[in-house]
């Protein structure tokens, strides 16, 4: 155990105490903070007049006092309160709620019912930003009329798709565009971890230092320590990235409090648009850890059967393709609306690392579905570990130069045949 801990800490220090690690993280940190706050940064430098949004408003007065100019008063108050919007009255004949959601010309419909001294107010608008700013000006107008009293507000939202209750079409389009960005850090982290592991093992093997090492620690300890060091590195690197994310959010809040902008950030967009954002993040992290372990075991296996650096570069190609494949699936499947394919790949270990969280957030698989997928990955991990650990023990000290599959066949025979 002492030697295992030492090997893990040695492997970890070897990566972390490098200038390249510090410099690359500094650059990544700056980029993350900048990318997440791009909307806020742009808003600082852009001309405010460009941002003025026209909003068509219709007010229907079904109360006991139809003589009171509700519509003109509300539009006037709205225009006085919000500079970034221009509110205009719009001629619209209200029939029912469904017909409002089907049309596209009118942005806001406000319906007053009952007694105007304490009316029931229905607010219809698909625009979430506008929806959140309407009640205060309306109440101001009502105060002018009624002295005191608070209306009953019923804020209506667009009807949801029956198959996908948590996600609107707009949110889905947002995800399509942002999917690649979401999984880019995962993809890079896994590539980095597998590369480090493979290069580390092949460096020891090709230099023959492995004989001195295996003469001191069992091959199994060496194998597990390399994987543990790599996954620890991945977790540390992820924590650093999350740290940068938190800093980015703090910077975003700074923009908000300084009034320089509305404090728009990608994180707040995610949180606003995706109702199960927390579960998604948790599953993404779990899939990243177990999925990476799966890839690391494969990388360790490939490095152990390789004899030179060149050998390893050649052998690891399928692994990289597998990673690239699952990353591309997260980009293209949502764009192509290939929900069935997305569903299938969400359950296939290796691919599921990135596809399953995406399938979950887009509503293609349920909570139970993603849990099953996670257990499938863990099961595969245990199985692969059981198969590869004995092969690693045999292959790591062997310098067979035969062809790839012949080599694997030979090592498997040696690993599972008792002499």
């Amino acid at each position: 155990m002492k030697k295992f801990k030492f090997l893990v800490s040695f492997g970890l220090k070897k990566r972390i105490k490098k200038k390249s690690f510090v410099i690359s993280n500094l650059i990544i940190g700056i980029l993350i903070i900048a990318i997440i706050n791009i909307p806020s940064i742009i808003s600082i430098f852009s001309d405010d007049t460009d941002e003025i949004q026209n909003v068509n408003v219709t007010v229907v007065n079904n109360t006991n006092d139809t003589s009171y100019p509700l519509e003109s008063n509300i539009v006037q108050t709205l225009n006085q309160t919000y500079e970034q919007y221009t509110f205009d009255t719009y001629d619209y004949t209200y029939t029912d709620e469904d017909s409002f959601w089907e049309q596209e010309e009118l942005d806001v419909l406000i319906v007053f019912n009952g007694d105007l001294k304490q009316p029931n107010v229905e607010i219809f608008t698909p625009d979430e930003d506008v929806r959140s700013i309407l009640t205060s000006p309306i109440q101001l107008v009502l105060y002018d009329y009624q002295d005191i009293g608070y209306a009953n507000y019923d804020i209506k939202t667009p009807p949801t798709n029956g198959e996908d209750p948590g996600l609107t079409e707009e949110d889905r389009m947002f995800l399509d565009g942002i999917g690649s960005l979401l999984f880019l850090p995962v993809f890079f982290l896994v590539i980095m971890a597998t590369q480090f592991l493979g290069v580390d093992i092949i460096e020891e093997k090709s230099s023959k230092a492995i004989e001195t090492i295996i003469a001191s620690v069992p091959a199994k300890t060496h194998f597990l320590s390399k994987i543990a060091a790599s996954i620890s590195f991945l977790i540390i690197q992820s924590l650093i990235l999350i740290g940068f994310g938190i800093i980015a959010v703090l910077v975003s809040n700074l923009f908000k409090s300084s009034g320089a902008s509305e404090g728009i950030s990608l994180f707040s967009e995610f949180a606003r648009r995706l109702p199960n954002w927390g579960a998604f993040l948790t599953f993404t992290l779990l899939f990243m850890i177990f999925g990476t372990l799966l890839f690391l075991i494969l990388a360790a296996f490939l490095a152990s059967i390789a004899t030179t650096q060149e050998d390893y570069q050649q052998f690891q190609a399928p692994l990289i393709f597998l990673l690239l494949g699952s990353y591309y699936l997260t980009i293209f499947l949502p764009i192509l609306n290939a929900d069935v394919v997305l569903n299938v790949f969400a359950y296939i270990p290796f691919f599921s690392m990135m596809v399953a969280p995406l399938a979950y957030i887009t509503g293609n698989i349920s909570l139970l579905g993603i849990i099953i997928s996670l257990f499938l990955t863990i099961g595969t991990l245990v199985f692969v570990l059981y198969i590869i650990a004995p092969i690693y023990r045999v292959a790591i000290l062997s310098y067979d130069h035969t062809k790839f599959f012949k080599r694997i066949k030979f090592y498997m025979k040696k690993a599972f045949t008792k002499r």
Binding site: K2, K3, F6, L7, F10, E203, E204, S207, K208, A209, I210, E211, T212, I213, I214, A215, S216, V217, P218, L397, R419
Partner: protein, 300 residues
């Protein structure tokens, strides 16, 4: 004490080591000789527990060699097996801690051995910046950093100049004086002859010569007679027991089958003029090696 008992190592039908047995006592230097592919490195791997023998066993003080006692063993492999991208200090800290050593002790011993080999200035240099000879020294230090009770050295002198070879020999002798067991292989038979008491010569995995060097030489009956005199080569070659005559620039070397034929040759040389040298010497280890290994190969 290290006991190798009837060790056999097979890969399918190929027999890498066949029924090998020998014992090494504390304070003994044991030589393992053989041509390339004879099974020396495989034998070392079996001793180190890196390969499980198909038959037989290796006992280290009565116990099987395993990861519970491997920290008491030092192993230097034939090829340079160093991580070249890290410094000498980092490498020794790595290998030393794999032998369960404390950092302070590693540094203390590293300083001692760097000073011994006169390479203290390389402590913080990367391995790849060192010459091959100095890399060999570092590899040797990595094998002895844990002050092992058993030192396994696979070709320790390859690539070393005579001065550095002498330093290595002295270091190995120091371990011998401290009662450590040393087993080593070498192609340089003069080294084996100079400081081994006992040897095993392997050929195709089998021990073809084994035992005390003096006895091995004694048992080998063939002798060499060096002569300086006005002799006729043809006449010498025709004498009984002579199987080879070599006319060197300064002397004539006559190989004979056994000491039974010395008198006949001496009688002939006595009859010649200008006799200044008649010296009978035992065959060298190198000659025995060539004779035995060559013979074995011819049979095969």
């Amino acid at each position: 004490m290290l006991k190798v008992n009837n060790v056999v190592l097979k890969y399918d039908d190929f027999v890498a080591v066949n029924d090998l047995s020998f014992t090494i006592k504390p304070g003994e230097i044991f030589g393992l000789l053989g041509t390339n592919g004879a099974g020396k490195t495989t034998t070392f791997r079996v001793i180190m527990g890196l390969l499980d023998p198909s038959e037989g066993e290796v006992l280290y003080f009565g116990d099987k060699v395993g990861y519970h006692n491997v920290d008491e063993i030092g192993y230097m492999i034939e090829e340079r097996s160093l991580l070249t991208k890290i410094t000498v200090k980092e490498l020794l800290l790595y290998f030393g801690q794999l032998k369960s050593m404390d950092k302070e002790l590693i540094i203390k011993r590293l300083d001692y051995w760097l000073d011994y080999f006169d390479i203290t200035e390389y402590k913080d240099k990367k391995i790849k910046e060192l010459s091959k000879g100095n890399q060999q020294k570092i590899q040797f230090i990595s094998a002895i950093i844990n002050d092992p009770k058993l030192l396994v050295l696979d070709e320790p002198f390859s690539g070393l100049d005579p001065i550095n070879t002498d330093l290595f020999v002295k270091a190995v002798r120091k371990f011998q004086d401290e009662g450590k067991m040393i087993v080593f292989s070498s192609h340089q038979l003069d080294h084996v002859e100079s400081f081994c008491e006992r040897i095993v010569v392997l050929e195709k995995g089998e021990a073809i010569i084994q035992g005390d060097i003096k006895q091995v030489k004694k048992d080998f009956e063939k002798l060499t007679i060096n002569i300086k005199a006005d002799v006729e080569i043809d006449k010498l070659e025709s004498l009984p027991g002579v199987y080879k005559v070599t006319n060197n620039s300064d002397k004539i070397s006559v190989k004979i089958e056994s000491d039974n034929y010395v008198k006949g040759i001496f009688d002939y040389v006595k009859s010649c003029e200008n006799v200044t040298l008649f010296d009978v010497e035992q065959a060298s280890l190198s000659e025995i090696f060539v004779d035995k290994v060559g013979g074995k190969r011819e049979k095969i």
